[in-house]
Assembly symmetry: D3
Homo-oligomer: 338 residues x 6
Amino acid sequence: MPKTIAAFGEVMMRLQVPGFDLLSQSNTLNYSFSGTGVNVASALSRFGHTGYLVSRLPGNPLGDAALSSLHRLGIRSDYINRGGSYLGLYFLENGFGMRPSRVTYSNRQESSFNTAPKGTYDLEQIASGIDAIHFCGITLAMNDQVREHMLALARAVKQHGGLVVFDCNYRPSLWGAEGYVKAKPLYEQMLELSDIVFMNEKDVMLTLGRKTAAEERIDQLYELLPQVAADYRIKVIAGTHRHIHGDNRHSLQGFMLKKGAFTFSEKLTFSVHDRIGAGDAYASGILHGELSGYEPEKTVNFAAAAALLAHTVSGDTPMSSEQDVFKAMQSTAGDVER
Amino acid sequence: MPKTIAAFGEVMMRLQVPGFDLLSQSNTLNYSFSGTGVNVASALSRFGHTGYLVSRLPGNPLGDAALSSLHRLGIRSDYINRGGSYLGLYFLENGFGMRPSRVTYSNRQESSFNTAPKGTYDLEQIASGIDAIHFCGITLAMNDQVREHMLALARAVKQHGGLVVFDCNYRPSLWGAEGYVKAKPLYEQMLELSDIVFMNEKDVMLTLGRKTAAEERIDQLYELLPQVAADYRIKVIAGTHRHIHGDNRHSLQGFMLKKGAFTFSEKLTFSVHDRIGAGDAYASGILHGELSGYEPEKTVNFAAAAALLAHTVSGDTPMSSEQDVFKAMQSTAGDVER
Amino acid sequence: MPKTIAAFGEVMMRLQVPGFDLLSQSNTLNYSFSGTGVNVASALSRFGHTGYLVSRLPGNPLGDAALSSLHRLGIRSDYINRGGSYLGLYFLENGFGMRPSRVTYSNRQESSFNTAPKGTYDLEQIASGIDAIHFCGITLAMNDQVREHMLALARAVKQHGGLVVFDCNYRPSLWGAEGYVKAKPLYEQMLELSDIVFMNEKDVMLTLGRKTAAEERIDQLYELLPQVAADYRIKVIAGTHRHIHGDNRHSLQGFMLKKGAFTFSEKLTFSVHDRIGAGDAYASGILHGELSGYEPEKTVNFAAAAALLAHTVSGDTPMSSEQDVFKAMQSTAGDVER
Amino acid sequence: MPKTIAAFGEVMMRLQVPGFDLLSQSNTLNYSFSGTGVNVASALSRFGHTGYLVSRLPGNPLGDAALSSLHRLGIRSDYINRGGSYLGLYFLENGFGMRPSRVTYSNRQESSFNTAPKGTYDLEQIASGIDAIHFCGITLAMNDQVREHMLALARAVKQHGGLVVFDCNYRPSLWGAEGYVKAKPLYEQMLELSDIVFMNEKDVMLTLGRKTAAEERIDQLYELLPQVAADYRIKVIAGTHRHIHGDNRHSLQGFMLKKGAFTFSEKLTFSVHDRIGAGDAYASGILHGELSGYEPEKTVNFAAAAALLAHTVSGDTPMSSEQDVFKAMQSTAGDVER
Amino acid sequence: MPKTIAAFGEVMMRLQVPGFDLLSQSNTLNYSFSGTGVNVASALSRFGHTGYLVSRLPGNPLGDAALSSLHRLGIRSDYINRGGSYLGLYFLENGFGMRPSRVTYSNRQESSFNTAPKGTYDLEQIASGIDAIHFCGITLAMNDQVREHMLALARAVKQHGGLVVFDCNYRPSLWGAEGYVKAKPLYEQMLELSDIVFMNEKDVMLTLGRKTAAEERIDQLYELLPQVAADYRIKVIAGTHRHIHGDNRHSLQGFMLKKGAFTFSEKLTFSVHDRIGAGDAYASGILHGELSGYEPEKTVNFAAAAALLAHTVSGDTPMSSEQDVFKAMQSTAGDVER
Amino acid sequence: MPKTIAAFGEVMMRLQVPGFDLLSQSNTLNYSFSGTGVNVASALSRFGHTGYLVSRLPGNPLGDAALSSLHRLGIRSDYINRGGSYLGLYFLENGFGMRPSRVTYSNRQESSFNTAPKGTYDLEQIASGIDAIHFCGITLAMNDQVREHMLALARAVKQHGGLVVFDCNYRPSLWGAEGYVKAKPLYEQMLELSDIVFMNEKDVMLTLGRKTAAEERIDQLYELLPQVAADYRIKVIAGTHRHIHGDNRHSLQGFMLKKGAFTFSEKLTFSVHDRIGAGDAYASGILHGELSGYEPEKTVNFAAAAALLAHTVSGDTPMSSEQDVFKAMQSTAGDVER
């Protein structure tokens, strides 16, 4: 049975140089609107659920364009507030082979979302209408005002019996110097409120500052994640291990810790067209599995296949239906479908 | 000495989303005009022959555009009838890596070609002016009216001593449920009339319903194809075995059965840019070899190299000259030609 | 107070050659999705109402793209049925100056909308949830099956006390030979059910076959429209008179007949960027005025300004907000807004 | 009854900056292939005749692209020689309003056409297969070698009873200093051989160096053209008077002198999209009228309407059918054709 | 003799929706880099002078692209400081006919230029190497820090005997409520330092708060400007009167007050392609005339023609050479230059 | 400490078909301006030096566009002469996989650079203002006039104590039949004057005609290069060995001979986006290392990494900063930088 899920997060305008040109070579940009919340709400809509975004957009042509774009992605906009003056945006120059992609941000602190005043969102109305809500560590990095909205919304959903989902998503550039120290208490607050959490062993070591003598990734994972799940009473912790090859291919393996047991997806290796947003596709796959009552093995393989497909699609936002993901779970590389 | 060859078949408009976007992400399409007959007539023109298309186009701007495009491809349009109302068209969304390409068709049954009334084509005039004619199993799938044109034309060419060529090209989606049962008698009619046929062991088992105890592809091929050649008095049967790798590369090996003997091309492995139409390039290569009196080994390697090149070119229609193919037969991957 | 309005109609894919090239010169098309119903539902959404489309789309990538596009335009898709195989489409070659634009249609009769079987739409559910419904003479031209849906829906809305709106929109090419004779009884059926009708004196003479001795357009209008309003108990009849100048400018004057009195808008003269869909913008303006309880003079000038703006915007679908239209009603040509 | 006409002339590659950017602002060019001969042969093909081009193209990818493009335009390429190394090309920056368009040429003297050695063209074969041949003053400006081909071809056609057509088309930049002095004897040679000539009073005064006391254009025309017609035994002299308005509109009036009588077309005023090649459309219209046995009045109005349409179409080459021109002769600016 | 001129001002990234689409319709943007200082420095470079920009750009890919673009425009970058984090940017949606263009700004206050700390610019080095410096009222609207740089630089140039130029350029949206009150003392400070000033009678009334009983523009001009020139010891005051027609044409007349005498340019009427930056072209024309010792009549007509040409070119930045402007001063609308 | 370097060479316009289309399939070209000298001067500018180009451009819009482009690349244009009529240009069709890229040249002999008369360049001024000058074997292939400029400039720089750099760059198509025989004495003249030379064992064998009994590349290198270094008193000889794989990847190893000792870079294997200009990036890297006093090992690895990055960037001209190259020297394939 389809569920109703909201995601709380900023809408960003992505301005991408076409092909493999640099900003100083081209004179054209392709634009779209995305963000972790956008990606998750849209992906869950495509999986058959009702996806809302809780956010704030300026009352100008940029805000109008962003709103149209959310609609196009199948997202419900009832909880979008219009106000403030600016939209966060980033420029993307595609890398090629050994040359990495580059992202250049505008000033997000001035965005409508990051300057939303107290009372912007009707917490009661939102919390009473949804089954689950998704938050992200990127939002946590913004400022006190946004963090207050975040925590208040998490508490309200918790009170109404909804599921609270948190993706750690630590971005060093947003936290600046001494970032882990600043972040730790804030992450702990969110973990206290969360039912489903996305993190891996690195997040535990760096963001939560926990230590381990284990040296292999997998051993660190087995040691640290159950501690975190226990300490914060988290029902599900999930994440991925990614390996980047030199020839434009990535390998990815998903994992999931539930009721003390780890489940791993098959290790997938694939060519990458657009890497951004693939983590959100994975998270959406895990959520879909959990909301649909899948067995962990099905859930984690569904999520990994959803992430694989997100790497093959243009833009940040996953575009695959549940059926597309099932097909990808079974298939090998195929001929034209005609 | 160059020959005169006609191909009978529908002209389709191909509407392709640029890059790797989906139809629901983009707002632009690239278009071109193709079809098995178009591809074969054009490829043979580039190999130095005179290529005619026998077809029907609407008397509207779409038909004008299709006609201009045939001319651009070097095809003679003297046997193109103008009439009817519609042009068949299909939308192509490029796949990437593990995500397959998708083709969405419009209603071809209403096209000018598929509604051509009796007497549309001047069979005598066409049959008396050509050395060979090419037909395709896609056309055979359309409807009785088209099949009547097809058979009448084959018979007329036969009567004038021309060569009849038939590419089995069975497309399950066109034949629907119980397709093989419907197709079998129609395929048999065409095989009775044909001198050169494109098929492989699968076609024999599925379309003609023949059985074999052999389990390996190659054993099935060795057992079944000579039976078919004998039963229908076919001079040459040719085809390919294709293997699709996960990293955007395909492997392809051509074969040819003539006077009871099989000849195989080298097995080629290569990166794929545009897979559609490569089978027509192979068929054109075999025809060129046969019409030019090549030895089977030269013919089958020429055809395989022509197919390889067709995978590296945009659009359905092969663009290589005879010289291009000879160069590809000898070469390894090369540096810029400057 | 915002209202809830549905529009019943086909979604068409518009495939437009960029710039002023012909189909036989270009290799690129821009596409969008529109239709009278789409345009009206979208325009009313931008004026602050809730706009639904009642229609049917194929369950394939084209249908998905059309649905995304409706969402992007702010249209609610709850009453969109997915089924059938094809989407109607048309090609548009832009004219320039004395060279008129050309439209080439695909076969609409095979579209999902035009082959929707009995029971496709839940009449009760739709009729009970809306304040008004919009129909169009283009739909009336299609086939019996569609006309049945149309009439059944009109009756259901009428029964639930909703407003029935009908835009005559007679397209000669769709009705064929003896079109007016075929159309008359069908138009009469719709007029019997309608509260608001879009027509002018030509529709009355040609479609309804009424005669007048008057020779001037304006005299014909004054004589014929009140007859029709009286005979069919129509509350509001509205329409426009358009004059096309040689230099890419049009003049347009709106009129409205209500309670026996005619009201005319100012005569607007303006440069034209995209003429298609401007009539739907006018109709939407009249509906907005009526639904909002404007005085006739405000309504008719609002509608004319909405039509003017629709001529200045790319694509069939109006993009102006209520505020944009108010600004256009007051303004003269202005400098950049910065 | 359709005729067979050849045009002798160079194929040029046109490289146009899109929109209204300068070469130093953009990074993209649109390209096409044209030339007076190309334009005339293509236009006459669209009017139902068989149009050949007599020319020479390099045996490289540029030559291949030019040849494909000629085919696309409906031109027969049997008399195209492949050889030499280069293709003439020019860059076009579109003007806007008061800022004129700019053309920058590459070195045409080195082109395959302008370096064609003696014996390149089979004069007998060409002359014996056509009803008329078209030459242009641009070709006359090139070099002795080209002029020899030109005169030999004109003489051969004359000998076979074919019609010789000559468009004066004097381009000052090609003739350089003292151009008129150099040009005069060459023009006189061509006029001696010609049956139909395109020129106006300015050509007579400047190129042929004739004098008149008349001051008004029209009086000069009436005085000078009959002299030229008589002196060189020319059957038809035709031309246009053009006036350029400041707002992107031109006015054009065609005239024609035949059997001592002048006939004038209506004076047409229209908005201009692409001015280049419109003179060739006019010439093609006159030729079509003469070859079809039209009355002078019909001929000159047909030609003027063909020229008008050529101003509304992208590219140098006219794209209108005979039917399109007839429609333009009758019409006023029209609404969308749908 | 060519001079050396610097302009002080922000570099803005302009992100323009192609054609006439809205941000909510398109997915592509064209970008360029401009600003009043950029436009003036570039225009003067094209007139043969050496143009420097004094500004600050972020040390990231956007800053790199801006710098490349300045170089491309012929601007010397020796006085460009690299630092700070952001680049100001604005989105431009082109209007059509009666629908005005729309500009949406990002937050300029956070830009590298507007956060440049004390000591960013080496005043002595700059002031000692130039003949003149240009400032703009847009910069004056920013913040105290920027205004300090501006005044310090003006004083330094004054001390070194350089010419100080100030363009009033009052933008209401930048000054906010009570803007004129805030602006007055700041404008007065700049006027005290300036030798050449761009303003008209409206600036005097609104920004300086001066009153007049005159009602006609021209009378106000004659009364108010000489007062200002006298009070602030300004050598030259220049400006334009613009009238906007409904059909995409503007009329513009330049004026100049020098040594107590007014000189007016011809009133020019022309079609507009890109209006932004035309004022800077006018200012550059006046500066060029003054720096070159032209008579006022030549200066003011040169400036008006430069402004006219800037309306016909894509982008904010004038692209005309001195020769282009001279040609435009003499010409009427012309045919292709070939 | 940054140095001042000039490069002597022709500016070519590169006209590239977008994507993988052929010239006969497309209608669009992307253009840029490059050349060995352009690439080297630009690359060294990005490494922090001052890069001049010594060349000649026509005084027309093409020349203007080329000049703007040089500025955009950070090149100083003080030694660019304007004159002559034409710009050399070449067309590039991208290969894919086994299909090689194709380059088609226009006639370079007529270009402004290749027709520069005696006295075009102020040798004294140039030679006295630079630390080093770069020449290329492509220029050497042109004609006597260009070679005279080249030798005169080399001698002048030598006299002023500057470093003379020569890249052998033998292009068979430019030298024609018996090319090596013609080239040998000219190459010897340049080697006599050179301090740093780019060549490998093949150049020694083919261009200088030296023989060796060694069969392996590496043995030939070890035997032949020290001979050449000794005979011509060359301080540094550097070059690369390239291996082309079938799957769009190349392997490259740089080497350098200095003071009798060979140093080799790591062998790099990488995917290729744009191969043209990568050799110039390597040469620029070696020059940067030598001019900066790097140890040979650092120099040769820097140069190889610069070449690798040049393969990943669009266009002929390297775009990497010194920091970019250092990063590439340390890194493995990385994730998005955000």
